[in-house]
């Protein structure tokens, strides 16, 4: 059985068609070329309009609840584990058949089947864990540092990571990422100075995840996992910052020690530095490396850093601070919008759609005379049960 549940061509065709649409807009290719490229990269999966996806998701969930209810009734409600096993197997079979026979691709139905199957599996694991020993408490999972708790987190991580690798679903990927962080925290707390090292551990784990997703982008199956990698990238950037944020570290430390009021933390200057430097670094490298997600996260976490500062010290009354910040931001944005009308330092203030078009006309005229017509043998154009990708603007 291949690792990936969906044919990789689906994601690749989507990416090529999106690129072709953009290039046509920027007049880098001719309409005829775009038509040929689109014909060679057809939409041959089923993903309907967003409203139909919502409907499919809701009714698949209703069906899932009814099926598990039926199984529970047949077993007289005395074996939750059996219900979970039967349901998970059934849902996975439906999921695989929907992909294989009806070509569902994140259509709402396969999302619902995957989520409910994973809920059943993880519910089963948790049930077995807590049922097998009555002394086990939910809060011991992270801070208890028992072998069983660590193993449980590891098993959950493996389940979620395997599901992400196979189905490339963003929500499952996000859950897998949090399971990974939870496991990292749990392992670190085994060490005697674990509490002191916790922020650095979170930052280290986030940084490792960021580097890994960056490396994964170079792989051949990048298009299949593109959306998943974007989710991991976003979460890694956020948790790296939050791991070093003074407010989070100080209040988290107080929560871990059950202090009523948070007190000054060890290495405080280091965290002052992180709180200030990480957002600025995000913005700087976001602009330098044309990394939009890093830039946006940087802008968002600057606000949180300001909030962190004002949480402990008040420099100015809020309304005065708002007026000053407003004047500063308006001035900065107006200056940058004016200054970057012509591109400088690789940056431009012109919207992507309005950019001056690169004139390829002469080149295209020279080439289209013998631009090859694409003909795939036995290919049925427009066949299948394609839902049109919901891109028709109808609703």
């Amino acid at each position: 059985m291949p690792i990936k549940a969906y044919p990789t061509a689906w994601a690749r065709h989507d990416a090529v068609r999106a690129a072709a649409a953009r290039w046509l807009k920027q007049e880098l290719i001719t309409p005829a070329q775009r038509t040929t490229i689109d014909a060679a990269h057809p939409v041959d999966y089923y993903r309907p309009n967003i409203f139909l996806r919502i409907g499919l998701f809701i009714f698949t969930c209703i069906g899932a609840m009814a099926v598990s209810g039926t199984v529970a009734m047949i077993t007289d409600f005395d074996s939750p584990a059996a219900v979970a096993v039967v349901y998970a197997i059934g849902a996975l079979v439906v999921l695989e058949l929907a992909i294989k026979n009806s070509r569902h691709y994140h259509s709402g139905l396969d999302n619902a089947a995957l989520y409910t199957a994973l809920l059943a599996v993880i519910g089963l694991i948790l049930y077995l864990y807590f049922e097998s020993d009555y002394r086990r408490q939910p809060e011991d999972l992270f801070f208890g540092q028992t072998f069983g708790g660590t193993l449980l987190l590891l098993v959950i991580l493996v389940v979620l990571a395997a599901a992400t690798l196979r189905y490339a679903d963003r929500l499952v990927a996000a859950c897998a990422y949090f399971a990974y962080l939870a496991l990292a925290v749990n392992l670190l707390l085994y060490l005697p100075p674990g509490r002191l090292l916790l922020p650095f551990g979170v930052m280290l784990a986030s940084g490792a995840a960021y580097i890994l997703q960056d490396k994964a982008r170079l792989r051949d199956d990048f298009f299949y996992y593109e959306r998943v990698l974007n989710v991991i990238k976003l979460l890694a950037l956020l948790t790296f910052y939050l791991g070093g944020n003074y407010l989070i570290v100080r209040e988290g430390n107080a929560a871990l020690l059950n202090l009523p009021v948070s007190t000054q933390i060890p290495f405080a200057p280091v965290f002052y530095l992180f709180t200030v430097a990480v957002p600025l670094a995000y913005i700087y490298f976001g602009l330098r490396q044309a990394n939009r997600m890093m830039l946006l996260v940087g802008l968002a976490v600057v606000c949180f850093s300001i909030y962190t500062y004002r949480f402990y010290r008040s420099l100015l009354p809020p309304e005065i601070a708002a007026v000053i910040a407003g004047v500063f931001l308006i001035g900065l944005a107006a200056w940058a919008l004016h200054h970057l009308r012509t591109p400088r330092h690789g940056l431009t203030a012109v919207a992507e759609d309005d950019e001056p078009h690169f004139n390829l006309e002469s080149l295209i005229v020279a080439q289209t005379a013998h631009a090859p017509e694409h003909q795939a043998p036995g290919f049925e154009f427009g066949g299948g049960s394609s839902g049109g990708g919901g891109a028709n603007g109808q609703f």
């Binding site: 690749r12 990416a15 090529v16 690129a19 920027q26 880098l28 290719i29 070329q33 040929t36 060679a40 309907p48 409203f51 139909l52 919502i54 409907g55 499919l56 209703i62 069906g63 009814a66 209810g69 039926t70 009734m73 009806s102 139905l109 982008r217 170079l218 593109e226 602009l287 044309a290 830039l295 802008l299 809020p318 309304e319 708002a322 007026v323 000053i324 910040a325 407003g326 004047v327 500063f328 931001l329 308006i330 944005a333 940058a336 919008l337 970057l340 690789g346 940056l347 431009t348 203030a349 992507e352 950019e355 080149l363 080439q367 694409h374 427009g382 394609s386 049109g388 109808q394 609703f395």
Partner: protein
């Protein structure tokens, strides 16, 4: 990064000549990074902070400034917005007016919002409308609806229809009714139902008479939501409403049937989803009412009705193109 891969692939499959692929790669390489929307977001954030800060400052110093100045300033903003929008207005047409630019549209929207602020301020500070709450809500409804048609603006139309809903509600139930939870007793449910049906009719009419037919979607989506929600609330309510709740069952089915018909005519999936969900709720409610005291029937419901109906709904959605005979795009 990803475009290199796409270009190499297209070149290998001879869908792009090599020279062109190379030129595109060069273009992508040297393309400047556009921070247009980020800068615009910063600008809006700055304006919001400045306006908020100034607002608080004015509020704190109201004794020195006086209400007259504040009212005058807000009125000035309203007038400026409307003036700017009017200056860029396209000539009136019963069709869809061509859009020249976005800014006048936003100015009109901002003008309408500040008009509400002005009205609220006047009422709160000077109580100029007294207890005539109907008038307070009628004024923006009439103004916004007129402006919506004059300026061909669907956002203002939604605001006007919302104001109209408030006016109906205020006229039907005294304001004190909103305090306790039995608002159905005052006939609000029926009023909402009536309003929803009227809005749906208005939408259909605007389409048939070809008067601003692009407004039909706003009328129908707002109207059908209000009507179906109200009918469902009356159905589930404590029978204190004036209309018998049994009447609601055929009514919801009729409204849902209308939505199916309309969805098929306009190939709109939103109305289809609304129709399916509301009729499913009513059907399930009816069945549960029927078997309420019979535990064997409950098992039947759980084992057969829910799985089969869910499968039916899924099949309906998957085969919707064939069932509604909606053409491929």
């Amino acid at each position: 990064m990803s475009h290199q891969r796409i270009l190499a692939d297209l070149e290998a499959r001879t869908l792009l000549p090599p020279a062109q692929a190379q030129a595109i790669a060069g273009f992508e390489q040297n393309r400047p990074f556009s921070i247009h929307y980020e800068l615009r977001a910063l600008l809006y954030l700055g304006i919001t902070l400045l306006a908020g800060g100034l607002g608080v400052l004015v509020y704190q110093n109201i004794d020195h400034i006086g209400h007259g100045v504040v009212v005058g300033f807000i009125a000035l903003v309203v007038a400026a917005c409307f003036w700017y929008a009017a200056r860029h207005r396209q000539p009136f047409t019963w069709g869809e007016a061509p859009k020249a630019s976005l800014l006048p549209d936003y100015a009109l929207l901002l003008g309408c919002l500040t008009f509400l602020v002005l009205e609220g301020y006047l009422q709160y500070q000077y109580n100029i409308f007294g207890d005539r709450y109907g008038l307070v809500t009628m004024l923006p409804a009439a103004l916004f609806l007129w402006l919506a048609y004059l300026f061909d603006h669907r956002g203002v139309l939604s605001m006007g229809l919302t104001a109209l809903g408030t006016w109906v509600g205020v006229n039907v139930a005294p304001l004190s009714a909103f305090g306790d939870e039995s608002f159905l007793r005052y006939g609000l449910g029926e009023a909402a139902l009536g309003l929803g049906v009227v809005l749906m009719a208005a939408g259909l009419l605007s389409e048939y008479l070809n008067l601003k037919r692009h407004f039909a979607f706003t009328y129908l989506s707002l109207g059908s939501n209000v009507a179906l929600l109200a009918a469902t609330a009356i159905l589930f309510g404590d029978n204190a409403a004036h209309l018998p709740s049994g009447l609601m069952v055929p009514l919801i089915f009729i409204l849902s049937g209308f939505l199916f018909w309309y969805a098929r005519r306009t190939q709109s999936y939103l109305f289809l989803l609304l129709g399916v969900i509301y009729s499913y709720i009513v059907l399930t409610y009816l069945l549960i009412q029927l078997v309420a005291d019979n535990s064997g029937a409950w098992e039947f419901l759980i084992m057969f009705y829910f799985p089969l109906s869910a499968i039916g709904a899924v099949l309906l959605f998957v085969n919707i193109r064939k069932i509604l005979r909606i053409h491929a795009d």
